[in-house]
């Protein structure tokens, strides 16, 4: 709705609180690079999954009981007796996985096209904060059904903090609210699991604010030179995003309706029992690469530090990547190393799913070393020595037509 055609009421309100002008500015006329590929759909998809998680979560919380003796039964009550409770819970449980699928693709898109580079460093950093908040939220949410994997996952992960020298034990007891994972732990995790998504919403708003300051990066990674390089967000990208939502929903709901427990662990349908340890305690699939890094180090504190470093290193990307060229399209060496990183992440996930024995120990260590080698050594060096291919003159002008490019960029832009 444009303010010029708005009704008098709209004008009256907008004069006092320019909310319609704001919406028009950031959702309708908002200039967006005209060459965005479908990889750019995953930002808005992540936002939609967040909304799905919050809405289903709020309704689930109306029926769930956060108590060690009652939680498991209340989840079964939701599954059996609450109207469409089975749908709410399966959407919410698989929604967590969908959220990570979408966000991991979103992150790897940013890595490929250099979306973390100037002037989008803060935008990128806010994204990493969202990832950290998501991890904390997902971990605590997985504890709530109070099944065997909930209990033992919580025990393993909270115990990591005991590695902190001196105050570790105190911190762990403080997290537990006692001397073991128990009812106080469950209740605080429920409280925080309800709180953190709204913190995520807050950081998402900052993320969007930072995004709209300079607009989206694009597959060419070059700045827009003029209006011919942009399209208004509506209708071009609203309709493209909605089509993306449709495709996403088909895949997501196929899992929800036809294989809702495929991503879960059967042990979590056995009530938590502090006296029986499951043969293999494995985190949810989205934590497996980090779990592999944790176990790659023989020293507990070292493993914990390295695991957190694996995420924190992402904050430093704008510094570590020394190339002036954003898009990997024009970076022949980085492009190949990028795919090695993708493979490395998958290998880490595979190692994380397996018990730390035999060849998995060695593979896990090599893959961990390579992960950090990529960010800390390869990225700075490649940016310095790689000769990028010539950049096109502008977004709207195809590379071929220009013949001679204006910005050859050997890192001297």
């Amino acid at each position: 709705m444009s303010t010029s055609t708005g009704s008098n009421v709209v004008k009256w309100i907008d004069h006092r609180l320019p909310i319609f002008t704001f919406a028009n500015h950031s959702l309708v006329v908002y200039p967006t690079p005209r060459n965005l590929s479908y990889w750019w759909n995953f930002g808005s998809l992540a936002g939609i999954v967040l909304v799905i998680q919050i809405v289903t979560g709020i309704v689930l919380a109306m029926h769930y009981t956060p108590h060690a003796d009652l939680a498991f039964g209340s989840v079964e009550y939701i599954m059996r007796d609450v109207n469409y409770g089975w749908l709410l819970r399966y959407v919410h449980a698989n929604g967590a996985s969908a959220f990570f699928v979408v966000v991991y693709i979103h992150i790897f898109r940013g890595l490929y096209y250099g979306s973390y580079k100037s002037p989008r460093e803060v935008l990128w950093g806010l994204g990493v904060i969202i990832l950290l908040l998501m991890m904390a939220t997902a971990f605590m949410g997985y504890v709530l059904p109070w099944g065997q994997m909930s209990f033992w996952g919580a025990t393993v992960i909270t115990n990591l903090f005991s590695a902190i020298p001196g105050i570790g034990e105190t911190i762990v007891q403080w997290l537990w609210g006692g001397f073991a994972v128990g009812n106080p732990t469950l209740k605080r995790f429920f409280s925080l699991h309800y709180l953190l998504p709204f913190v995520i919403v807050g950081v998402v708003m900052l993320h969007l604010w930072a995004l709209h300051q300079h607009g989206s990066n694009n597959p060419l990674g070059i700045d827009r030179k003029g209006p011919q390089d942009s399209l208004p967000f509506h209708p071009y990208y609203t309709v493209k995003d909605m089509f993306g939502v449709g495709v996403f929903m088909i895949v997501f709901l196929a899992v929800v309706f036809f294989a809702p427990n495929y991503l879960g662990h059967p042990d979590n349908y056995t009530p938590a029992n502090p006296l029986v340890t499951p043969p293999h305690i494995v985190p949810e699939w989205y934590f497996l690469p980090f779990y592999a890094i944790l176990r790659a180090v023989p020293d507990k504190l070292g493993g914990v530090v390295l695991m957190f470093a694996a995420v924190v290193v992402l904050f430093l990307l704008p510094i570590l990547d020394t190339s002036k060229v954003r898009s990997a399209k024009f970076r022949p060496i980085y492009k190949q190393v990028y795919w090695l990183l993708v493979i490395d992440a998958l290998v880490l996930g595979w190692v994380g799913a397996n018990p730390p024995e035999g060849a998995f120990i060695l593979i896990g260590r090599l893959a961990t070393a390579y992960y950090f080698l990529h960010f800390l050594v390869l990225m700075p060096l490649i940016g310095r020595f790689e000769k990028p291919r010539p950049l096109p003159a502008s977004i709207s002008e195809p590379v071929l037509k220009g013949g001679e490019s204006t910005a050859t960029a050997k890192g001297d832009a």
């Binding site: 005209r34 059996r80 449709g246 709901l253 036809f258 349908y269 293999h280 494995v282 018990p355």
Partner: protein
Amino acid sequence: MAVATRMILRAAALAGLMFAAAAVPALAATEAMEPPEQHWSFEGIFGRFDKAAAQRGLQVYTEVCAACHSLKYVHYRDLRALGYNEEQVAAYAAQFEVEDGPDGNGEMYTRPAEGRDPFVSPYPNDKAAAAANGVAPPDLSLMYKARENGANYMYGLLVGYVDAPEEVEMTPGTYYNLYFPGHAIAMPQTLFDGGVEYEHGPEATKEQLAHDVVTFLAWAAEPKLEHRKATGVAAILFLLVLTGLLYATKRKVWADAH
């Protein structure tokens, strides 16, 4: 391990959604054998519970399993979904006694169970169950979902009793089972040919009994399965049409922008 292999497959399947599918080597076998693959009516996109089999399975559960195993997340009224009417449900429930109260005088009393009650457990608590059996027999409400490859696993377990190989020393109170992890299970063989008398239907071989009770237990663990799958088919069909329309709209909107 089977569990680990599945976890890898999951991670790979997800990554493969958008990235190139990663080749996943199959890992070495576990100690226990993979249970035989059975055909189950409730599998697949259009899967439905075979009501006759589930009803026979209720009979097997009632006459055999219920002696030791509880089913505490299932209510008697839920049995209507298997094709029983109100009277049949009430008559079935009334066979069992539940403690209720306190009454007006503050006294607890027992009464026949009704549709609104959950299945009555064979033991008053886990301690009593453990005292009578050595280990407490697990609740069966969710067993179908609580084991990898749940239906085939339960079937295999129920028919998988054989004499222990000579070199294997069995501790007293355990029995050799092909499909139980570690092979030594505390539950003795419970299903035998003709062990339950079917009024109608197929011959009550132990395989048939196992098949029927697993169908019943799958229903007990996932009573909304039919509704879920039917809803899923409708939802996906709707989304295919909607997404097709959105794609056509997108093409039209973008026609002048290329």
